[in-house]
Subunit: 338 residues, 5 copies
């Protein structure tokens, strides 16, 4: 660990693998690299958000391309694959679903990070940006499978890509649940304020799409084109990852379409709700207008209005008016206006 500290606090873990087994006898990754170059195995260094200075010595040790190094230090990259003579540089977007009690208009739903992978014949360097997508458990599970690790650095790249793409599917599943919730809310008889939430989810889905979609090209390249640093057996495993990516992006595209439809359906629901309000309001207005009219009738000042002198005239009018209102109420109730 002392060596690690000297290079920089950004190194999370490093190890030398011989025939797929971790060799703990090394005490510096430089020594390991020298051995690896001699054809003995490979070294895997994992970093988290290194600064330019922290990464400089590693970049020099492994002869990484300056542009790739620059991309590695700056975050917010786009998924891509760059092929150099002796190495490959891959950028992958990691995606995390942020748990939230309730889907509001402002809650963060999807956050993105990056994992950059430098792949050489004798080394693999993984650089992670963002707070999620740690690779420690991945390293452990790989170390438990020496046969796979024995295929060299590209097995690590495959494991990383596989893990990240599987995570896309999980996030898509979670977003699906949010969409289900919004659907229920939009079409529930209760009045809910969904517009902002729908829009917000749409925005997050677009972000997800932008993270996932550009990965197709790098994965196809890894699956179909012979690349020296990618083991042929690993290559056909990338086809599987690409297939999972297809599933994830199919889903995200469908989300996008669904949310557009929900936004429109929401408008229709609002229009229905407004109409119902208007009908309820005016139904009550009609009920109240009837006695007002009748009372006005007997407020007239004609000399000859026999009813006015009947002793039961007043209660009769009251009863008649109340009955009329009740009948009107029942009728409007039945017509669904109240």
């Amino acid at each position: 660990m002392t060596t690690t500290r000297q290079i920089g606090g950004a190194i999370v873990d490093w190890a030398f693998y011989r025939d797929g087994v971790r060799d703990s006898s090394m005490n510096s990754h430089r020594a390991a690299t020298e051995l690896a170059v001699a054809g003995q195995g490979f070294v895997w260094i994992g970093l988290h958000e290194p600064t330019e200075d922290e990464f400089a010595s590693i970049a020099e040790d492994f002869g990484l391309h300056p542009l790739a190094v620059e991309d590695t230090v700056k975050a917010y990259q786009r998924p891509k694959l760059e092929r150099y003579d002796q190495s490959v540089f891959v950028v992958l977007k990691t995606v995390a679903y942020v748990d939230h009690d309730q889907l509001t208009a402002s809650s963060e739903i999807v956050t993105t990070g990056e994992v950059m992978v430098f792949l050489g014949e004798h080394f693999v360097i993984t650089v992670r940006h963002g707070d999620h997508g740690g690779l420690a458990t991945l390293r452990r599970s790989l170390e438990a499978d020496p046969e796979r690790l024995a295929q060299g650095p590209s097995a690590v790249l495959h494991a990383v890509a596989d893990r990240i793409v599987d995570h896309y599917l999980e996030v898509a599943e979670a977003v699906q649940e949010d969409i289900d919730e919004i659907e229920t809310s939009v079409f529930s008889p209760e009045r809910t304020r969904d517009t902002a939430r729908i829009y917000h989810l749409k925005r997050e889905v677009l972000e997800l799409k932008r993270a996932i979609h550009p990965l197709h090209l790098p994965l196809r390249t890894l699956a179909e084109r012979p690349i020296p640093v990618v083991h042929p057996k690993v290559r056909e495993y990338f086809r599987d990852v690409e297939d999972h990516l297809h599933r994830a992006s199919d889903q995200v595209v469908a989300f996008d379409e669904l949310l557009s439809s929900i936004l429109q359906a929401n408008l229709a629901q609002l229009s229905i709700a407004a109409n119902e309000d208007m009908r309820r309001i005016t139904a009550w207005a009609a009920i109240i207008a009837v006695p007002t009219m009748i009372f006005g009738l007997y407020g007239m000042n004609f000399t000859h209005m026999p009813e006015l002198d009947w002793w039961f005239g007043y209660p009769l009018v009251l009863v008649a008016t109340a009955t009329l209102c009740a009948l009107l109420y029942r009728r409007l109730k039945r017509a669904g206006w109240l």
Copy 2:
């Protein structure tokens, strides 16, 4: 049947075919496989939702690729075709239309399942996921046509694909009827609540699209590229299946567009309905406002209001008011406001 039990309850049926005819003399599929490898015929094993353990021995017997095996055990795959040295792995989505009395906002309309097919020179393994799309009748009808079966395992793959794609067309037909029903409902003079149903159908159509669309690529590959395990005569039959798939996906794409238009037309209909309500309401308000005004007129306390002292003043006003209301009613009725 005893052998079958030993392997696992997931095996639905298995048989050995020599020159297209079922040979019932075998008592284990392993023996059958050995004979098949010797060039005598092929074995067809049908499974339903096998667990990892249940499928493991078969995978080993036939040397299936671990990734394909993993895909087979896990359901919810995407249609695809994977080519291996000696075999082909195909995933097909099955689709079933769920009968429902009435199209409501929550009723399931389309359910999907999967059929995975492993195709070797001497074997075909079909694995089914989901409750529909059983292949027993298909096996029987194939066995009734030995000439076709004699073309080998790829004839089975073709029969399965053909059956599944024909089913897409049937489901599309059924969805068409749902759309017709919704159209009638949206444009009927009666007030119906269609927004949720339209949206729901749209969602199901998107699911259908996602099941159908990715099959194009595998089918084109089967129809156009020479694959060792696919009999050349069977290959040109796949062109026909692809053509049917084109018809199904043309229809589904049209459904998608139609439902978007219906959603918008529905909004227009709601707007018309709301306007009609408003006009009816205010027409009644106008009718009631007239007597209220007249009664207010004769409620004034002027000393010199000759009409008030006429003995026929009161009935005159009543009759005049009633006539006025009747005229107004007739006019509004004619104008289409009532």
Copy 3:
């Protein structure tokens, strides 16, 4: 004609052409076929909706591919071109515009049928489905042009395709008129109910698109790829047909876009109409509210209300109220509310 009956009532006409001239000496199409195979000319058989049995003998005589035969007997195919060793099978959608007095929400506007063409070196078989698109006049006009017919069966295919695509353009022209009519209706000051009609037309346009669009690929193949049974001189004529098809499908795509815009414009028009209704209604409500208020004023029971005792108080109030209402009416009229 006797021979024809024996084969089936589905045969509409048949003839043998030598150097582009109809040879009426044959008394059976089988004899004609034998002669044709000997390199003397070709036979053209035209059928209308044959049953499987009716078509079986012809299929056998000419060695047609079973899948193509199946497609021929079943209607509702998709435009396509299938190439076999010695023959070509082409499916074309025919389209007819159904005359209607008025464009209502339910009137059929576009009906589709099919013409299937089997093309061999010495034969051409045309099979028609649907009530429109009869080929009798086409045959007559071709027979009037022996030079063209002398180019062999592919000249017939070209004539059929040319005729069908020209018909697309005519149908598009007719649909254009329907769209013009709807436009006029939507933007007319009169209140019209256009939503259902717009949607209905959109649906028919989508059907038209589905019939027309898939023909591009077959026509491009006929125009660009050398096919043995297609005469090289005829090939470049297919380029012209393809060009006409481009025009038709450009138009249909534009219809689709236009109808979407009309649907939206219609919504805006409905919104304007609703607002106008609301303004007219409330304008009248305002006019009636004024006398009601004034009459209420003089209905108060204050002891000291000098106006009540003026002998001209009552007529004054009546005149003042009427004047006020008239002024209000004029003002609202000018503001465009009435």
Copy 4:
């Protein structure tokens, strides 16, 4: 000119060019053609809407392809390029912007015509359809630049295409102004009726798109593929024309998108306007309801209502009511309801 008359009134001008200079010594275009074929120069004949008969002799003289001749006589073609052995046939759509005082719902904005060009090694024939896009000034300016004309017939084709595409840009500029005007109108505080105008402009833009877009393919062919009758130096000039076409079609595509957004924004503006109307109306209703209620209060017939007997009761109520109404008015005014 006499010769011209003999061939038909459709010929607008013709000339023979030797080394880029007009040779006026010829007295018939046939003589000129013979000289041209001998390798001395080329002939350029310009026609306007020739009938079939008028064009027949020219078609024969130059051996034009019958299909191209048919296209030339019939107007309403789609932009295209047809390559024949010794010649090229190009159709271009001309576009003219129709000046209009005001953009109304019915005014024609864009009209289209065609220019067909037959290009051979020694001749160029331009046929114009429609009332705009005359080529006389173009011929004059070309004749003023003998160096360019010396490059042969393809220089004429380039000049025609360049002129037509530049005209697209001018028309696009003019349409841009119409869009600006509509934008101003839609978002102005005044109530304007824009829906029909927006839709109408959209329709014209779609027509423009249909005229412009299909020209990309012919121009790319002219710019990139070696065609015998196109001078290599002229070829790279077509790249420039294609670039201008890109600019025009970029703009037209943007118009299309903008107009869709304006249509939607217009709907929002209508909704805002309707809401404002409703608020103004009901604000006045509230102001009038207050005195009606108060007057009703003092119209009650209770024996013990002390206020009724106050001598200042009546004016007090009047003043109080007026004050209340004034306060209400001010408040609603401030809230933006009036």
Copy 5:
């Protein structure tokens, strides 16, 4: 500087670079060019909006293609790359974000300019149009890095493209903030007038898209195809620029989609707001209708209305009415109508 004046005021700066170092000993760019052609280094001339005359002598000196020269003098070009025998001509759109206090419907948000670059083996000429995107600081920073400049003229092209594309990202960031601001405004409970602003931003985003998108093709050409005047080491740096362009155009495409959704969400918000207004209005109308009815009741003129003679009748009614109104108010308040 005297030399510069002679050529024209459009020259902003010029210099001769030998091995990446500025050689100030030259006193005319012609002398420098001669030296450069002799293989000693290269000359970089920077101009700003030259007129045709001002640019003519430079165009002649370096043998620039007349079409490229014409494009250079005229502004408003589309991004493109033209390859000539000895040189390359590149047009890039510069984009500037215009600071504004508040996003109104009329404020300019994005302005565009152009930078044209002529690239030869021994020269690079940069021509700038528009008020932003000055290249003086770029020249200085390049001169501070002789190693890079030593790679020749293509290093300058790369630096210019890199700077311009990085600026796209900055502008996209600024537009993102405008979108955030609009989102907040649309979904805030306050009534805001956002339609015009949303539309305006959409229009500016479309302009941005049109400026950015066509650059993909030129950059891909520079990154992938070997071009003689582009140094191989510089070529791979263009891949990086292309990658940044991808990021910018991904963002702009997302803006476009987001703004469409906001426009629709805005419509929904307006509909909600209108409904709320209507409910508030009618709630008050209901509150006022109750006393009006009650007052009418006691305005009736029946002889036998015992309440009228109670001495506490009048205050009782007043209190009862006020209580009723208060209860109604509370209830409507709770229901969210007030």
